[in-house]
């Protein structure tokens, strides 16, 4: 039996450097599909999807809100051919009711230990409209290594440089951050994976560079320290969200291969300044994630924030405008206040303004968003800053003996497509 698993494409932000990373949701799902099922995976962001009658069953895995409309379109086409379609993934959970209009079935929640039932039901022609595991988080000990061999790995190289592979060591979060839906998706508790399972998976990964996608590693100090200690012998180099700023944690993180971390920068306080400095003292670079358009930001605040980012010597910065994704406090607040004016999910890419900001017009916020990108990267473009970061990791890999040279055979390709030659 052939199961066609699809990761729909989405429109990338205008003017931004495009990096297509190998998706994580589909490989986590694939690990739970019974072994006798043949999986044919297409990531539409790096290859063309051919919709035909060959699959027996179709799965659509969606992470982003900007993928849902395309996902629905694909499902509609397969269903016209008489194929059954099941949806899963983060944005299926965020947009479940709407997605059900385009699906034979939706899977809500975490897959571990649960997909056998789905495929049995498919074989019996008794697929349920909903598989609802939303309030039943998976047993963390059941999470095994993701099935990354479904990926066409050569498609995740840019000019011969391999992109990071995605990996997760925990789920859930104890916080209720304003723009975030992790509480809804992964539960209100922090659920770390057993360290031995994490090490088992990391040891099997052939990519030395990783992005640990966990919402935050800074939620259980002892586990975090144990994790980093266990990672030291693996010599991986990795990117992650926040790490605790305790010296003993940062020291272990650096030894375990912390390359750079994403740090939310929400004000111009000494707290942020010192935190960045502390990361740098341990050789850990910082990419600031900067959310614009919050109710406490005036035009002057945004301009001051950009100046501050340059002062504190962030290695990289990523600017976004607030996107009120369903099941976030931001969505609830703006909905209550009647401030959301655009409900086209394709526009929820964190680069377009879909609501009325408090202290300025939507148009002005869009201008300031562009101003932030332009100003931060004026003297040193993003590609140069990224190159500097890559140089840092390469130096460390050479010392470790883990450096893999750039692949010359695909040096003229970027994510599977020919790079135009510069005259």
């Amino acid at each position: 039996m052939k199961f066609k698993l699809i990761y729909p494409r989405w429109e990338k932000l205008e003017g931004q450097t495009i990096f297509n990373l190998p998706p994580h949701g589909p490989v986590v799902m694939a690990a739970e599909i019974p072994q006798n099922i043949e999986i044919d995976f297409t990531d539409e962001n790096v290859e063309e999807l051919i919709i035909d009658e060959s699959p027996d069953f179709v799965g659509i895995s969606m992470m982003l809100t900007t993928q849902v409309k395309r996902g629905w379109e694909i499902a509609d086409q397969y269903r016209k051919l008489g194929k059954k379609v099941i949806f899963g993934g983060i944005s299926t959970m965020l947009h479940a009711e709407e997605t059900m209009l385009h699906a034979d079935s939706v899977f809500l929640g975490e897959v571990e230990g649960r997909l056998g039932e789905v495929f049995q039901d498919f074989h019996k022609n008794d697929l349920k409209k909903i598989y609802n595991f939303m309030s039943k988080p998976a047993d963390m000990t059941l999470i095994g290594p993701a099935k990354r061999d479904i990926l066409k790995k050569d498609l995740y190289y840019h000019k011969g440089f391999r992109m990071v592979d995605l990996f997760h060591a925990s789920r859930g979060c104890i916080y209720d951050c304003y723009p975030c839906a992790v509480r809804y998706l992964g539960g209100r508790g922090f659920r770390p994976r057993p360290i031995d399972k994490v090490v088992e998976e990391l040891s099997q990964m052939d990519n030395n560079r990783l992005f640990i996608v966990d919402n935050s590693l800074a939620l259980d100090t002892q586990w975090e320290k144990d994790l980093f200690k266990a990672m030291i012998p693996l010599k991986k180099k990795w990117v992650s969200h926040t790490i605790e700023d305790k010296d003993e944690v940062l020291d272990l993180a650096a030894q375990a291969g912390a390359w750079y971390v994403y740090q939310a920068v929400f004000d111009t306080s000494d707290y942020i300044k010192n935190r960045i400095k502390q990361y740098h003292e341990y050789g850990i670079a910082v990419e600031g994630t900067v959310l614009l358009g919050l109710d406490n930001q005036t035009e002057d605040d945004i301009k001051r924030l950009v100046d501050f980012l340059l002062e504190i010597e962030l290695d990289l910065a990523e600017f976004t405008v607030l996107a009120p994704f369903p099941h976030t406090k931001a969505y609830s607040d703006l909905l209550k206040q009647g401030r959301i004016f655009d409900t086209d999910w394709n526009h929820y890419n964190a680069g377009k303004v879909v609501y009325h900001p408090k202290h300025m017009s939507a148009e002005r916020l869009a201008e300031l968003y562009q101003y932030a990108w332009d100003t931060f990267y004026k003297d040193e473009p993003q590609t140069i800053k990224m190159f500097n970061l890559i140089n840092k990791v390469v130096s460390r890999e050479i010392v470790d003996g883990t450096y893999t040279p750039r692949r010359r055979d695909i040096a003229d390709l970027s994510f599977g497509k020919k790079v135009p030659k510069v005259a």
Partner: protein, 128 residues
């Protein structure tokens, strides 16, 4: 009834409800039977103590459930959403009150519309 030292003048009990996708959910609740014959219910979002769907996201079904449990008619029933001050550095977690008006679909409250209230206005509504 569960008691809790954090109960305050807008919340004197916990209330459980089945949220979206049947998620077991919990909020704070205060019910006041007013002298004018109306029943005022204040539902408080309790964030980390709520394992399921937030109050705002489940506002209409939650209000319907509370109204039915209190044996009220829609005409008698007033529903206020309350988010407590979390003492966060971020401004979005301050205390808010919203009076919620609904349309009626048979016996169900639907299409919530929120109207921001000042704490003084809530206090006045509690004392009628």
């Amino acid at each position: 009834m569960e008691t809790n030292p954090d109960f305050n003048k807008y919340m004197d009990r916990y209330y459980t409800y089945s949220g979206q996708w049947d998620s077991p959910s919990k909020c704070g609740l205060k019910v006041i039977n007013r002298k004018d014959g109306k029943t005022l219910a204040i539902a408080t979002e309790i964030y980390r103590q709520n394992p399921g769907t937030p109050v705002t996201e489940w506002c209409a079904p939650l209000a319907t459930q509370v109204m039915n449990d209190l044996h009220c008619t829609p005409e008698q029933f007033i529903f206020i959403e309350h988010t407590p001050d979390l003492n966060s550095k971020l401004a979005f977690y301050g205390e808010t009150f919203d009076l919620v008006n609904f349309d009626l679909d048979e016996n169900r409250l639907v299409n919530p519309k929120w109207l921001r209230l000042l704490p003084e206005q809530v206090d006045e509504m509690m004392e009628v």
